[in-house]
Structures are given as C-alpha cells and as structure tokens.
Amino acid sequence: MLKELNPLLHSELRLGIMSMLVSVDSADFVYLRTNTGATAGNLSVQIDKLQKAGYITVEKGFNGKMPRTTCRITDAGREAFREYVERIKEYLKI
C-alpha cells in the first residue's frame, strides 16, 4: 500500500520553496518570490508554515539599509524532502 504524502510539502508553493532551498546554501525572500511567482503575502504565510514545522530557518537582517530575510533548509527539512521524493518515486514506480 502506498504511503501518504507529507501534506506540508504537498502544495505547489511550499514544494517549490523547499526544492529551491534544498539545492542552495541560502536564498533570500526576494529570490524566492521572483522564482516562485508568488505574492509577498502568500509567500510569507507559506514560509512561516515551513519554519514552524522546523523545515527551514528564517534569519532577518539588513543588506545596507534594506531589510533582508534569508531562508535556509534544516536537516529535518532535508529529510522530509528526501522522504517526499521517495514516496513520489513509489507512486510513479521509478
């Protein structure tokens, strides 16, 4: 029997964020917004959910005078992503 997919990752925007973060060391909010095409409000909400789940860390700082929010994937996030991909592979039988 196929196992259930992680509901937190089984959303297009959250999965997009995690996929970007899994392949980089860090990415800022503007980068994620540009590359996902999401609105700032929606992106903030989804980042917050991922942070509360312990999948990413969010660091607020400044770049010169501009505020900057940097996101990084955590070990728990990486493991959850790996499991998600494994289950997707089971579904697709690849």
């Binding site: 392949s23 060391d25 980068y31 590359n35 999401a38 929606n42 997707i88």
Partner: protein, 192 residues
Amino acid sequence: MEKSNLTPEQSINVILNAIDQTRERAERNAHRPFLVWGYATIITTLAVWYAIDATLNAHYFFLWFALPVLGCIGMKISFRREGKGEAKTHIERVINHLWMILGIAGGIAALTSWMGGINILYVEALLMACGTAITGLVLRWRTVTLAGVASILLTPLFAVVEGIDRLPVFAALFVVMMVIPGHIIAYKLKRE
C-alpha cells in the same frame, strides 16, 4: 501558485523546475569575478611597470595598493543588486572560501616580500593559478581548469625573466588565467 491537489507528475515537475532555475541563476554571474580581478590585476601591474620604468622611482610600487581597491569597486558594481534577490549555492560558498584563503595567503606573501627573499610575482601567480585550476575543477569548467593549469606551467618564466620585466609577464599570465576564460564563459552563458 498555491494548490493542494498536486499529482505525483506535477510534484516532480515543480521540483525539477525549481532546481533548474536555481542552477541557472547561480551560474549566470560566475564568470564576473574572473573578469573583474583579471582586469584589475592587469591594469595595476601595467601601471606599476610603466610608472617605474618611466621614472625609476621605487615609490610607485605603492600603486599595488590600487589593486584591492579596483577589485572591490569592480565586484561591487558587477554584483549590484538587480532586484531579483540572492541565493548562494554550496559550491559558491566553497569557491568563496577558497579565494578568501588564497587572498589572505597572497596578502601575507606580499607583506613578507617587503622583508625580501621571495619572488613575490612568482608566488602570487602560482597561488592564483592554483585557485583558478581548482575553481575550474569544482565548477566542471574545462576552459577555466585548462587556463589554471596552463598558468601553473607558465610560472617558471619568472626564473628566466629578471627585474622589472617580470611585471608584463605577470600581466600576461592574468590574461591567460582569468581574462580569456572569463570571456569564453561569458560568451557561452550568453549563448545559452
């Protein structure tokens, strides 16, 4: 973009697209440090050579201090924010740390050379050529690796050429080591 009923195929597409975009953006500006530091080194070296050759005044060696200034200004202009945000890959972090260590080693070698006893241009060229070759290997850029290795093989020229004439040799090495591969990569990235 928010959807909750993704099919497994859509999930795989989301993952692959996101990873592709990230890789593409990370590689887009990777040639710039080579061009910035390559040209900054060549301009400074030729300025020192010309000034000393024309005046025979050793004080013009202080022109070397223009190199970090030119390089830093060039990097600042080259990497000014484009309003699209920033992402750092793991490889970029490794490369940044590699060049930071080489920069510190180069700085210490330069300070040591004031006390005499070492051929500073040889040491600097060798350090930077090794950095270029390693960068090429890590990024899997054959052109950069070959440029680095070719520069390492050319460094014995400093044993043949003497005195102030080592300066144009040093500048020429940076053409081979950084400027030519930098332009080749820029051309390839533009074409892609």
